[in-house]
Every structure is written in C-alpha cells, then in structure tokens.
Assembly symmetry: C2
Homo-oligomer: 562 residues x 2
C-alpha cells in the first residue's frame, strides 16, 4: 500500500459536523490501491479492563480524481465525541492508519494514537440558510438589464443596445427596468437575484464605490429600490447585493479627505498608506486593489472602518430587507473582519446569505465562522473546459469535478455558488464558438449538479460577448432576437430542479462513466427512493450509451415518457 498517499486531517473536508448529530469522515488514498476501508471509532472515555472499546463501520468509495480515491462514512456518536482511525485492506495487507502513523494492529492501550473529533457543538457547525440550497440564482448587471426610466439616464446615455459595450459607455439600465421585466425572471423560474453593485459610483460597473449608503442615481432612488425588493419577494425571489469592502472608489469621501488633508486627515488610518504625501502617480504609494490607483484598499483592521462597513452591512438589510451579501475580492480582506461581519449580519437576519468571491481553494473561509458559500470557479473552469471549449476529455472533467466535490464538506457543496459566467468572463455561447448544443449540455450539467446554479443575465436567451466589457451587452428584449428555444430549455431544467428534490440537492452525485477516449459522460443523482441517470454526449457524433447497473425500465423525465 502506498502509505505516503494516505491522508486525513480533521476539521475541514476530511472530518466535519454535517448537522447536530452527524459527523462526516473522509479518507484519501492512492487510486486503485485499497479495496476496503473501515472506520474504527469509539467514545474516547469508553473503556473496559481490556482497554479502549471501539467499533468498526464500513466506508464507501466516493470517487477518484485521477490521482486519489476517496472513501466516505457518516457516523453519529452517541455522546457527540469520537476518537477514530482507519483500517485499510487490499490483497497484500491490512493496516491501521491513525494520527500517530501506521500500525499492523489497532492499539487499544491509549486513545492518544487516534484522530479526534472532540465534541460536536451546534455553534461550530457550518450552516448556510435553509433556503439557499433550493435557490436558482440570476445575476444582473444593472446598467445593462433594462432601461425603465429614461428620466434618470446618466449623461451621454446611448440608445439601448445601439452599440457595443465599452469600459465607459452608458445605456441607462435601472431598477424600473428590472421591475418592468420581473415576469421574464418569474417565467424562467429563478428564485434569487445577485445584483452587481448598485451604490453611488462613477463607472458603469459601480465597483468604485463613492458612497456605500447611497444608491447610484442612474439606477433610481431608495424608494424604487425598496419597491424592487418587495416585488422580488412577492414573486419568491431573494435579493443579494454586492459589497465591495476590500477597497473603496477613488472618490470615496474618506479617501478624498486623505488626498486633501494628507497626514492631518482623520481618515489616514482608513487605508494602507505607505508614506506622505499620498500620491497616485507614477505608481500609487498606498495599497490598492491589484495595481489600480483608482481603488485604494480599505484598512479593515481599523476599528472605525470596521464600524462603518458593518453599519453598511446592517443598513441595507434593516432598511430594505435584502437577503444576502456577495463579497467582492473577499479573500483579500482579513478573516477577523469577516468573522465580525458574519456575527453582525446574522444577528439582524439569521437567514441572510453570505457569499464570498474567492477563486481558489476556500476551505479556510468555509468553517462556519465566515461565509456560507464561495463562487465556485473551479467548477466553472472544469465545466467550461469540457463542454464549452472541448479542451479536456470526459475523464479529465470527471477528475476536476470529483476533486472539487471532495475539497469541501457536503453541507458546503450543497450551497456552492455554481456560475458559468459573469460580468468578468466571456459569455458561454461565445466560449463555445456559438455551438448551442454544447451550451445546452453545459446548462444541463450546471442545473443538475450539487450546489446552487447562477445564470448570468442573457445567457438563457443565447446572448454572446467576449471578455469584459464584451460580456456586458444590453439585455435583448426583442423577442425575435431572443433564442426562445434555449429559454424554454433552461426553463424546463429549472422546473425539473424544483419538481424533483433528487435533481436538486437531495441526490448523491456520482460519475458512472467518464472515459478518456469517448466524449460522453454518464452520472447519477441518487436519493433514498429515486435514481436519476444523466447521459450527455459531448461529441458531434451519435453514440450508443448502454444503461448501466442493469436498469431495465426508466422514466424519461425530459420527455416525460417511459
């Protein structure tokens, strides 16, 4: 057995509380190296005269990511505490794996050898709001969704869709436009909207906040926003706003004060200033987002800044009843701040959703004390590479997705924010060179996968566009120019997701076939009572895919026939 490949360390995806009674334990071993794994576990204080008393429980193979096999088991220790190890068996040998290394027999003279889950506390369980896992998100870039009130158009507003989107042009999208088109969203079936920033800012994207307490007048006033939130709620749609707390805009009052008063500014500790006088050229002598002098990094370790931002977080929930915050560049803000942020937000709205923008492995933010979810870009990358771009094989795709799923606890995966594109990336149809069939498979995968899918405005009607600003075109409202067939396809998938819990997050996801050479994919979603089988042909040719597992009859959910 390849001992060096065997890995486990508690209090992350390898060992966590799934709910108030249940622990999940995961083990990683070399691919195809182990035939049987049993969890060896017991209460740390349960002894008799022969030593520590423990039991065994079979673990289940849960996937392989090309390099490793993963094994899984669920246990409910009676007194909510557990010491444990693993018994691994293959044709050659049987070994015991513990925190203190490998043994040929399970030691029982001491529990100190074993891994420990000391106590399962409610307070430490990762717990996202209940509603999130059933939500289908829709991302709106407000400047480009619909212009419903031309009287508040910003200067030089162009006729809707009259030209390509540029870094600095305006088409006058606003709240009134969204209200007027709420039926589109209801018809599609989405149940949550993620709005990119709506606060006062000069740019069309509004990531350069001037005032976190004011709505940008080009979108409308607070009364209109309140009406928008109310209308969304009446239609069963939750509302999530974008909090850009890593940095402010250049014209944010406190930063302007710093520029004006320099060392004497009472806001000088609100930013990371390296020296005085503060200057923006040739390179800024203060910390910024990336190297953008227009976006000075906020000092979220400063008490005043903390208070200000937490007040912002509270204000939009208390006054407008928004349901969640999406946190921009969340990984570059300190963990200590996010812990306070979570406490503050949950204290006023316990079921508010907190979503962090993190592109890489996010386990340190998903321990229950910070975020409810992150934007699942590793999923995005894999799905686009396979379905849209055809860059990787079915097997490689299976490896990527298996790896993502095994990188997080199950309760984290159930609320992962699974996007395919955003205002920051080229549109899916463009990435697929206009091949709609591939996009349909991509959407099918997204909408049948574990987690919560997010549709980027316009993707459902076949809009195109390259890297931003290309992907920020005006939404097409001329029905003749919308791809109605694609819209119906997406709508159908969303309906299935709502109709069958096993289609959504109540099913165990598993790949059944993902061959290196064949360009098709078979996976299943399985609950106690039902099994859904998905067969996706990602090639240009017809393929014959035999039913696996000896299934004889099945209901065709898509066409609703036997």
């Amino acid at each position: 057995m390849q001992l060096e490949a065997i890995y486990h360390r508690p209090k992350n995806n390898f060992a966590y509380a799934y709910n108030e009674k249940t622990l999940h334990i995961q083990l990683r071993v070399k691919k195809n190296d182990v035939e049987k794994v049993r969890l060896l576990y017991g209460d740390p204080y349960h002894w008799n005269k022969d030593g520590w008393i423990f039991s065994y429980k079979d673990m289940t193979f849960s996937g392989n990511d090309g390099l490793f096999d993963y094994w899984f088991v669920e246990v409910s220790p009676e007194f909510r505490r557990m010491r444990y190890g693993f018994e691994l068996t293959n044709d050659d040998e049987s070994i015991i794996y513990t925190e203190k290394g490998f043994f040929t027999e399970a030691p029982c003279d001491d529990v100190a050898y074993y891994f420990c889950f000391p106590f399962l506390h409610q307070a430490d369980i990762f717990r996202a709001p209940e509603w999130v896992k059933d939500t289908v998100w829709y991302q709106i870039f407000p400047e480009r969704f619909a212009n419903g009130n031309p009287s508040i158009n910003p200067k030089n507003t162009l006729p809707w869709g009259s030209t390509e989107p540029l870094r600095d042009n305006f088409f006058g999208g606003d709240f009134e436009g969204i209200i007027q088109h709420i039926d589109h969203l209801v018809d599609l079936g989405v149940t949550g909207i993620y709005f990119t920033p709506i606060f006062k800012a000069f740019s069309n994207h509004k990531y350069d906040t001037i005032d976190y307490m004011e709505i940008d007048p080009q979108f409308g006033d607070k009364k209109t926003f309140k009406r928008l939130v109310d209308i969304c709620h009446q239609h069963g749609i939750r509302v999530m706003l974008d909090a850009v707390f890593n940095h402010s805009g250049f014209y944010f009052g406190p930063f302007q004060d710093v520029l004006e008063n320099q060392e004497k500014s009472k806001y000088k500790d609100w930013f990371h200033l390296r020296e005085f006088p503060v200057k923006t050229t040739p390179v800024p002598n203060y910390d910024t987002f990336a190297f953008t002098e227009q976006m000075p990094k906020l000092n979220t370790e400063n008490e005043e800044v903390k208070k200000y931002l937490l007040d912002v977080a509270k204000y939009w929930i208390e006054e407008f009843d928004i349901d969640g915050w999406r946190l921009d560049v969340a990984n570059e803000v300190d963990h200590a701040f996010w812990r306070e942020f979570r406490k503050t937000v949950k204290s006023i709205k316990p079921d508010a959703y907190i979503l962090g923008e993190i592109w890489h492995d996010s386990m340190p933010w998903l321990q229950g004390d910070q975020f409810d979810a992150v934007m699942n870009y590793p999923f995005t990358q894999g799905a686009l590479d396979f379905f849209a771009k055809g860059k990787i094989s079915a097997e490689e795709f299976k490896n990527v997705i298996t790896n993502v799923l095994h990188s997080y606890p199950k309760n984290v995966n159930e609320v992962a924010f699974n996007l395919l594109g955003s205002h920051d990336t080229p549109r899916i149809l463009t990435l697929a060179d206009g091949n709609k069939d591939r996009i349909k498979l991509l959407l099918l995968f997204q909408l049948s996968f574990i987690g919560t899918p997010c549709i980027y405005y316009g993707d459902e009607i076949g809009m195109t566009g390259g890297q931003d600003p290309g992907c920020r075109k005006c939404m097409i409202w001329d029905q003749e120019k919308q791809d109605q067939e694609l819209f119906t396809f997406v709508k159908h998938l969303i309906q299935l997701r709502k109709q069958y819990p096993v289609f959504c997050n109540d099913g165990e996801f598993r790949f059944l076939e993902a061959d290196r050479n064949k360009n098709y994919l078979v996976y299943q979603k399985q609950s106690k009572d039902e099994t859904l089988l998905f067969m996706l042909n990602n090639s240009d040719k017809e393929v014959e895919i035999p039913f696996v597992n000896g299934i004889r009859t099945a209901l065709d959910l898509w066409n609703n026939c036997q």
Copy 2:
C-alpha cells in the same frame, strides 16, 4: 517522483504569516524522492504581455519524519499577497506542483492554477505574547507544594508527606507555603508558574469547581492570593491559572439549582440536559466530562454561561493581575466560545497567555483566533518513550519530534508548552525506573528544545510517583532528601537557556544524527552567529561520537572550557 506523496494546502503549518512581512511556506514530499525544490511565486496582479510574471526561490530541506521529507522557505512579498507553486526536481524529472495539480512547465496564462496567499493581514497573524517564548514554566499542584498556614487546613489534614497521596486525602498545601518557598523557584530560575485550579471545590485537585469567583479557603483568601501574585511578579515570575470551563463541579450553584428545581430551574440551559427529571444514577442523563456524573458539562453555547465564564476570565486578570489562563479539556469546548474568550482576555490584557489542554493535533485552535499554545503532549510522548522508557530508537524519536515540529507554524512551535509530566501522568524518574542519567538527558533535551519547557514540581529534586494520585506526593522540603545534584543540573540548564538565546528559541533546531541502531543522538541549534551542538548518549555504554560538519574547535558550554 511519487506524486501522491506531495502535499501542500495553505493557511496552516504549510503556509502562514510568520510576522507582518514574512510568509513561511512548507512542502511535504516522499522521503528521499526529491533533490531540489524551488518556490515559484509572484504577485497575482503582476503581468506583462507574455503573461504572469514570477520568480523562483530555493527551498531548504528541513527534516524527515520517516515517511516524508519537508522543505521550507521564507518569503516577503512586496505587496503582501502571493500566488505560488513548487518546482520539484530529481534525477528523473522536474515537475511543477500547483493547486490544480501537476504540470511539466509552469503555466503563465492564468494565476488560477496556483496556490494563493491572498493578503498578509496583521489581524490574522498568530501572535503569542512576546514574553512567553523566553519563559521557563513550573507547575504547582497547590495542595501538595507547601503548607504555610496550618490554621486554614481542611478537615482531616494529614501531616506533610506522612503518607502516600490518595484520591481523597489532604495535606494542607496553600498559598502561604508557596510564598515561603518562592526562593526555591527563584533559585531554580523558573519564570512562570502554572497553578492547577485554586477555586472553591471539594476535591484535593479542585477540578470540580463549586464557585469560579472564590478561592478555596484551604489555599488562603483573596488577599493572600494577591500577595502571592505580587511576590511572583517581583521575582520576574508570571502566574497562570487553570480555567475549567468545559464542565463545572457537581456542587456548582447552578447545577444544584437544576437538581432542585429541575425544569423550573433558571439554569436549565446552562448544561446539556437530555431529559427531566435530571438524575445522576445509574448513568447521568446529562452530558458530563467523560462519564463522570460529578462533572456536568457546561453549555458554553448559552449566552448566560458565556457571559458568566467570560466575567470569570476577566475578574482574575483585572483584580489579581494574573498573566495567563490554562484551559482544561479545551478541545471539548466550542471554537466559537474560545474566539470570544480570546477577544475578551486580550482586550483587558493584550499580553495575557492562553494555553489550551489538547492532547492531539491542535492546528484548528492555533490559527491566531483562539489559543497561544497547547500542551505539547506529542512531544512529551516521544521524549518519554526515548529517554525515560527506552521504548523507541533514536531514529524513531527523531521521526516523532520532526513530525511534531512540522505539524505547526514556527511561531506556534516557539511557544509550545513542552511538559514532561503533570498531575495526570507518572513522574519521569518513575517512568525511567529510577535511572537518573536518563532523566538528565530527558531534561537536557526538554530545556534545549524549541518551545517553552514546564517542570512539574518536585521533578527537579528527583521526586517519584506513579499514575495519579501517586504523582501528587507532597513536595519534599527536607534538603537531605532532595536530590541536590539533579537540582543543580536543572538550574544549570535553565541558566544556559537564559544566557544563550540560541539555546532557547532563537536557534533553528535540527537533528544531525539519529541512527536506528546506535542509541545516541546529535542535534544542533543554530542562529546567524552561533551553533550549539548537542550529543546525547542514551545508552549504558560509552560511545565515541565524532564531531560532524568538520568542526575543529568548540566551546564546551557545560563545563565552560575549550
């Protein structure tokens, strides 16, 4: 190369902020499998027309634990943020290891492949109080250290040392006794005392707290305690108390109230009661420490309990100026509580020390948001097995210690609480079957190792005793019965530790020789300017150990001669 053995995951011992400018990066690979490792790193936003711009830095081999080699490097990214990967080379190949797997060439079209340390924030750095790493601790079990005021003896107090310690007998140790013997501690050179519990309780060990706000009258009153703390401080000795917050004693007021008033008790949410009526026999129907009905587990998730315990934590600091809290059964209390505990304690005394009792891998508690250190039992186990019990070879010992060191960040190791014994374990001399030579080597290792050593009262004068209560004998004050030679030996080591920073925590620890067959050990402590060489013969025979590394002349620190 054995790809499955290669491991790295950020934000723990593998990647952490050592201070406000410095990141430490560690990589694990199969033993003897890799010849050279370079860190490949850059600012995530530093690009030119050819792609992402990155640099290389050589990593250093830092040890092997029998199964794995560890490589280490320190970097100070200019803008405090970093994406990175590893280039691993051996005779056969050179590969790139990233968060997204292995590559033959370093990809530079995207940073998303790479591991990420998003931003180095002050607020997230693990930071123990400065004074801790230079501290030599001494553990006092107050009932057994010295009886200085017989007028407050508890009922049935026995003459000092007149009989073996039992679970329930009393010898009248008290604060006055400690004050009277402070010279012993000053002479030995210790700079911190860890007191096992002193609060009101029936038992002789006082882990069954009745009142967290009162001192047990058998030890003295609050005035005497204040005087004890002041005297310690005058002698440069810090004071740490034991906080038993996982459970209360049976006679703790709120629990008695529960027993009396059952469902109507206003304290019913202070504990984990499973049903009413609450009963203690035949098995308690409430959560307890272990299965001890005398120690009901406190519900530290309850707001009132939290407030009460945090008030306790504050009270003894504010009123008596104690310097630290040792947290009993710390792993079985929720992380959320410890985060609040840290905030509360540090808000009133920023350099107070927080030490958790955890016997297993403790990384989840040592991220900067909870504890400053844990009791380093894995160190204890290894050191006792090799030196005291002779159960493992020099090589196995080297493996255990290397593993412990690589399981935590360096700033964590520097303040690890390295004990050899306590009121819970047999005394070292007893474990070594009275072989004092072995005990001397053991103490030498402890006192020259990274971390902060703790001496259990009486071990310095050669006291004996088996598993508790045997290890809780009355301290011997008759100088004729004290092992003076051992005392002088320990005192000398403590002096060296104080005199030479490289002897203490300013030296890099490294094993030089630890052979499976030879029973001796060579290790070094190295600073920029100095190298200390330790050669320990753990056998009964004389051995000749050649100088390593071509050293020709050296100063014999022990005998202070060339």
